[in-house]
Amino acid sequence: MSIALAFLAQTLRIAVPYLFAAAGGVLAERSGIISLTLEGFMLGGAFSAMLGSYYSGNPWVGVLAGIAGGLVLGLVHAVATIRYKADQVVSGIAINLLAVGLTRYFLKLVFDSSSNSPRVAGFSAGTSTTALVAGLLHNPLIPLGLVALPVVAWLMYRTPFGLRVRAVGEHPEAAATVGVSVARVRYIAVALSGALAALGGAYLSLDQHQFTDGMSAGRGFIALAAIIFGRWDPMRAALACLFFAAAETLQIQLQAMQAIPSQFVQMIPYVLTIVALVGVVGRAVPPAALGRE
């Protein structure tokens, strides 16, 4: 029982950054803007959250700063792709490189380190073995992360804004004809995606009480994989995030036994995404206007 609970608790902890980033990614992608940016948003969010917590001593200020960092990067991506019609893939890669570069530069500038920040105030999940799952609640970002995709699902399918997001992602011309400002909806969706993915990053740095160089470590791409594997549906993407996190947990637990080489477990999200795109079991079809102007 306690093994199962420990497994569940660890899975949830690993899943949180994926869930936040996938929540952001689903919004942006469904509005028609490609989300290769999640990795950069996360890294920027992790850094600005650490910075906010460092200067204020309050992790909640860190959370707000993380959101702000994500919003800024999201808006840069939005201006480049929407206002200047930059290629969304190229802009996404630029945002990722920009996040790597700027976080490294300011890490060096502010803390004179090329590897990590000093220890800052953060949120620690409880590690008590008797109340493993309850202990998770000690980090408020964990329950927030768990509801992120359900909230996006509600937003997407139950609100006028969500309807507009789906409309501009599928038929921008038709949406424009009925008076929806395609650009405005996309600006909001991309900015929100920056903020949400940045929360995933904030979770990383506040959970570890410090920022380390490159700490997003490919998680943004795993979130993107979860979106595609979940066929751009928020709830299915959430399940994919949990599934990928469970696979990782399993690998960590099995590491001592050397049962499967860790490299093969690391491949799981990526291989499954390719399988989903190839369509062995039902094809993953992206939003019709994804990547188009």
């Binding site: 490609i34 290769l36 840069v76 480049a80 200047y84 019609k85 930059a86 290629d87 893939v89 190229v90 802009s91 890669i93 630029a94 945002i95 990722n96 490189l97 920009l98 996040a99 790597v100 570069g101 700027l102 490294r104 530069y105 890490l107 060096k108 500038l109 090329s114 490919g218 791409f221 993107l224 994989a225 595609i228 080489p261 490299q263 093969f264 690391q266 491949m267 990526y270 291989v271 995404t273 390719i274 795109l277 190839v278 369509g279 992206p286």
Partner: protein, 357 residues
Amino acid sequence: MSAASSPSALRGRVAEALLPPLVALLVSIVAGDLLILAVGQSPGAVYRLMLEGTWGNAYGFGQVLYKTTTLVCTGLAVAVGLRAGLFNIGAEGQLAAGGLGAALVGLALPAGTTALLAVPLCTVAALAGGGIVGYVPGVLRARWGAHEVITTIMLNFVVLAFLSWLLSGRLRVPETLHTNAIRAGALPRLSAWWAPFHGSASNASLIIVLAAAASTSWYLFHTSRGYELRAVGLQPDAAESGGVSVGKTWIRALTISGALAGLGGINFVLGYEHYYEEGFATGAGFLGIAVALVGRSNPFGVVLAALFFATLSQGGLAINALVPKQMVDALQGVVILAMAASVPEVRRLLTLRRGAK
């Protein structure tokens, strides 16, 4: 296309090709100034130091040439993909696979094998290693319509994890992340021919890579296969009805693209360390995208752009005393972003002006 021969249309096309890189350069200089001013240094002094540390002395220039060599390969890889209308984001995995391919063949050859035999064999292995990794997304796209942007990104992770697993078995020297050193003949450092390069990693693979750039240019612009490739990139439907198999062209383009990225592996493996090391390809794939964009997917432009980004990268080390070298990492992002935004903007403004005439 008929209007393209008139002088004003030609001027327009030249402007459309050259203006975006200039805009990107200007924007990145301004961004660089801000980052430099943020630490209270003078931009002029920093840029001077950057030039002195790169083009101003033989060792620095040798290092620039070394970095240029790899970037030409990943840049050509991305450029060939773009010409076919495909976005190869998998150059990093392809480069790593090419490096391992070269190292495996090199290790299999008996010690003392003449370089005249070893270098061609290892080079072919590098091309094959990268080519195989490029072939896969080509087939996924042609057969199942799986978009290459996603599959090449995902394959990067898969390939790097797979190579890491291969290395973690018997291949690596215990307690390290690299293989044994190749004892067959390899490529000489450029310092063997010109002493002032002494200490820099630049080596004769530069010559092979420049030949590859020239061949790529020949292939793209002077062969019927290259014409088909570009036709598919411009108008796949028209190409298809003109009798070109779009699917086969995609597969061919991504295989060539992967092979070109893989070729870059010889720079590190045959020219520099003489072994394969995990992580040697890190960053070169994404930078290849920058190189191809700034080089406007033209092999000659790619060489120039590779030289630019290599200078920036090496220049970071030169200015570290005044400004954190990490500044250049940020500038790379700025250049790509500015490039991405200015290409459609320049086209729009040029069209506006043409309309106004």
